[in-house]
């Protein structure tokens, strides 16, 4: 059974034939793209004109996201920016603390039990001139139920007095840098860092394993994929115990599940050898819509949390250097074993010292286990300089840069964390491409919203949220950005032979757009409307989710 879709325009990303008017699909795969006349040669077909006024692109690929974006929407959204939930509702950004409180009061009114927790997420006080939220602010919402708001960064939690009281922390004498105290000697309600957040977090309704995604969350995550034109998305750090894998296999196998999910096994909590063994086992469980067997190694922390590892001269504000989350010995061991066994690693490095360590370990590992096409990928890699990009190219590494970060925290990096020069080179997309490093760009959803067209806009315009252009010379062309969110990301996952372009033999994965991203003003790229997706030949209109 062949279906030929007509379109206003098809952007194929196939260099031999960049544009077409029709695409023929059989058994979920692409027979070819071209004119109707050319495609008619494949035999009997049904002409589907649903997209005749739309623009078709290859299904977008998000190379660094977390499926927990779907889960977080069961909590109350109090972020600064407008954001769409899985059901398509746009939540208006809360522009000041009062707006945050109003939103919580509404949510509070909908919970019947007086003592049930009220969890919320995506607070970011840097947009409130860094005015800190306090427990007294949240006590205005309720003094009987525990309330907690996770910050957008995921590194800080704000709670009310009741939550502190339940956790036994509404007391004086606490001496912990993660627990700031007020003039009264009691905690202000701000809790910094996961170890400090956990003892209170469980009382405000945040689940045990914040990175874990439950069944409904995985379903909702796929809805967000459809709304943003994504047909393949990574779940970049998961522990993947058997029960989670079974759940994911079941959910993604459902005939209406609209996305291909690529979960990576997170290195924490197991030894290097256990990690390798688990990845090898996962690889055998892989299906078309759940691609298992890749490894994620977290090397350092985050720049805005001052836990990233920076080379000299370190943080602009003089903060001490950040934290290692793996030893060089273990990293080397995991890299060597993965090269030897053909496993595929993505590393999280934010600071340039962490990136340097990965490059050193790769150089050593490749001497011992030469691998011509390993495609190990540096994720975030926000502070890499040109010399490091040159080494990546020589070592055959890919990079997936955090283009969205620039918009949300670029001003913070400029003023506080790394200072003007290095803030200007952060996420140096142009330098990566100039040096021939295969490149993707990402959202790290839920840290920033899932939406590759927005991510592409960030890389093309490099505007910060205050409206400043930061890094004029690191801007990339629109065509390069569109490549990065399709074939570029697919390449880092070794899926570029299957997805990322519209050409014969590939999966029938399409992003269906209302506007033509090649024709809009680059400053409007983020406003290109998404109608929905086609995944494996199945049509998913966003309006029907």
């Amino acid at each position: 059974m062949t279906t030929i879709f007509s379109a206003r325009k098809i952007i194929t990303m196939n260099p031999s034939r960049p544009q077409a008017t029709h695409v023929a699909v059989r058994d979920g795969r692409i027979l070819g793209a071209g004119t109707l006349k050319e495609l008619a040669g494949w035999g009997d077909y049904t002409l589907d004109e649903t997209f005749k006024d739309k623009v078709i692109m290859p299904g977008l690929v998000e190379g660094h996201s977390h499926a927990m974006e779907g889960t977080l929407w069961k909590y109350t959204y109090v972020g600064f920016f407008d954001r769409m939930d899985p059901h398509g509702k746009i939540w208006t950004g809360a522009k000041d603390i009062d707006a945050v409180i109003d939103r919580l009061v509404e949510a509070d009114a909908q919970i019947e039990q007086d003592d049930a927790p009220l969890p919320a997420w995506s607070l970011d006080p840097i947009y409130f001139n860094n005015e800190r939220v306090t427990r007294e602010d949240l006590d205005r919402v309720s003094t009987t139920r525990p309330i907690g708001i996770m910050h957008a960064s995921g590194h800080i939690l704000n709670v009310n007095s009741k939550a502190l009281e339940i956790a036994g922390l509404l007391k004086t004498g606490i001496n912990n840098p993660g627990v700031p105290l007020g003039k009264d000697g009691l905690p202000t309600g701000e809790l910094k860092g996961p170890d400090v957040m956990t003892p209170v977090g469980i009382h405000v309704g945040f689940d045990r394993d914040m990175l874990a995604c439950d069944e409904q969350g995985l379903i909702d995550f796929a809805k967000l994929c459809v709304r943003s034109g994504v047909t393949t998305a990574t779940d970049l750090a998961a522990r993947l115990p058997d029960e989670a894998v079974n759940m994911m296999l079941e959910v993604t196998a459902h005939k209406t599940y609209p996305a291909r999910i690529v979960p990576l096994r997170f290195h924490h909590g197991v030894t290097p050898d256990e990690l390798i063994a688990h990845a090898e086992k996962l690889k055998t469980q892989s299906t078309d819509r759940l691609r298992l067997g890749m490894i994620k190694v977290v090397v350092d922390g985050s720049i805005q949390g001052f836990s990233a590892r920076l080379r000299w001269p370190g943080y602009y504000n003089g903060a001490p250097n950040g934290l290692w989350y793996i030893s060089p010995e273990h990293l080397q061991h995991v890299i060597n074993a993965s090269l030897e066994k053909g496993l595929h690693i993505h590393t999280h490095t934010n600071g340039d010292e962490a990136t340097e360590l990965v490059l050193d370990c790769m150089e050593e590992g490749l001497l011992q286990h030469p691998a011509p096409d390993h495609r190990f990928t540096l994720q975030h890699c926000q502070l890499a300089d040109s010399a490091q990009f040159r080494r990546m190219a020589k070592l055959g590494m890919c990079v997936n840069l955090f283009a969205n970060h620039h918009f949300y925290w670029g001003d913070e990096h400029y003023n506080l964390t790394v200072g003007p020069e290095r803030a200007t080179r952060m996420n140096a997309c142009a330098t990566a491409l100039k040096n021939g490093v295969p490149m993707a760009i990402h959202s790290d959803a839920p840290i920033t919203p899932l939406g590759p067209l927005f991510t592409a806009w960030c890389a093309v315009n490099r505007l910060t949220s205050s409206g400043r252009t930061q890094g004029e010379y690191e801007k990339i062309e629109l065509s390069e950005a569109l490549y990065a969110i399709t074939l570029g990301a697919a390449y880092t996952l070794k899926l570029d032979g299957e997805i990322g372009s519209i050409e014969t033999g590939k999966r029938a994965d399409f992003a269906i757009l209302e506007d033509d991203p090649e024709q809009v003003d680059p400053s409007k790229l983020k406003d290109v409307k998404v109608w929905g997706t086609v995944q494996d030949g199945r049509i998913f209109p966003a309006a029907n989710l």
Binding site: P177, H268, G269, W324, S327, H330, L357
Partner: protein, 296 residues
């Protein structure tokens, strides 16, 4: 809020290969009736001597003498909270930090939990490699921060270096860690009491005020003449007893109340004493004349 007594917890830190696992096994073998709970990042890292293991499932290994070993994986605090719900309470918890962790940060987090009291931070240094680690391009500052977090440093594997080198390293380490007591060990052989001593139990209960000297450590019982300021008294002990590494006991405070004094290295904790407390403080100190233990 919980009113049950807090379980003492010792954080063991130190870079990879410094002997943390050896120390854990040594403590398990010398627990002397104490029920220890060992918390490790991941089981695979901790090679518990097979003869100590009685039963094992995914999260908990049951060990001889009522001890247990739990892995905390990627969420230490959650594992601690689970442990506080588990019965019966262990007598002492040993938390083995990962090789790149900063032990004071872990201790700071644990201190937020109401069921546990940080007893001390012990950091191991491998006599053979510590100086190279300290100067390592990537790990140097982490190793330095680990050492400065310590209440007590075990300079371990002294049997693998010459006496002369050992002295040099000891002197260098003293410079780096300033006031922190440094104890030389080989294969982590150290009297368990130095880490686990708990006044009122039988592990060290000198009947008299005579000093006991074993294995380069000296134990004394001090009884103040009358009421004292507990904090001043603890500082006084540090001044008077060279090589003091640990002290625990009860004194009558100047306000008439009975207080528990607990001292590990430079860390001093003063808390209300239990009702039946008898005045007296047990001290453990390293004999100053010694350098390297004889034998292995």
């Amino acid at each position: 809020m919980s009113t049950k007594p807090k379980t003492p917890l010792t954080v063991i830190g130190g870079y990879l290969g410094s002997g943390k696992t050896t120390l854990v096994n040594h403590l398990l073998r010398n627990a002397d009736g104490k029920r220890l709970a060992i918390l490790v990042n991941e089981f695979g890292e901790l090679q518990i001597d097979a003869d100590l293991i009685e039963a094992q499932d995914d999260d908990v290994i049951s060990l001889a003498g009522g001890c247990v070993c739990c892995s905390y994986g990627n969420d230490l605090i959650m594992a601690m909270m689970d442990m506080s719900k588990m019965g019966p309470c262990p007598d002492h918890i040993i938390l083995e930090a990962s090789g790149v962790a900063l032990p004071a940060a872990i201790a700071g987090s644990v201190s937020l939990l109401n069921d546990f009291a940080v007893d001390g931070i012990v950091v191991l240094a491998d006599a053979e490699t510590i100086r190279n680690r300290y100067n390592d391009k990537y790990m140097g500052d982490t190793v330095s921060r680990q050492l400065s977090d310590a209440d007590m440093v075990l300079l371990n594997k002294t049997d693998l270096v010459s006496t002369e080198d050992c002295q040099t390293i000891h002197a260098w380490l003293s410079d780096v860690t300033s006031q922190t007591p440094i104890i030389e060990t080989s294969r982590c052989a150290i009297p368990a009491a130095v880490l686990l001593q708990d006044f009122g139990r039988s592990d060290i209960a000198p009947a008299t005020q005579d000093a006991h000297q074993t294995n380069n450590f000296q134990t004394t019982l001090r009884v103040p003449d009358g009421p004292v300021d507990p904090n001043d008294y603890a500082i006084q002990l540090l001044k008077e007893i060279p090589g003091l590494v640990r002290a625990k006991g009860f004194v009558t405070s100047t306000d008439g109340s009975s207080k528990t004094i607990q001292l590990v290295g430079q860390r001093i904790e003063i808390t209300p004493a239990p009702a039946d407390a008898t005045t007296g403080v047990v001290t453990i100190s390293v004999c100053q004349a010694s350098s390297k233990p004889d034998g292995e």
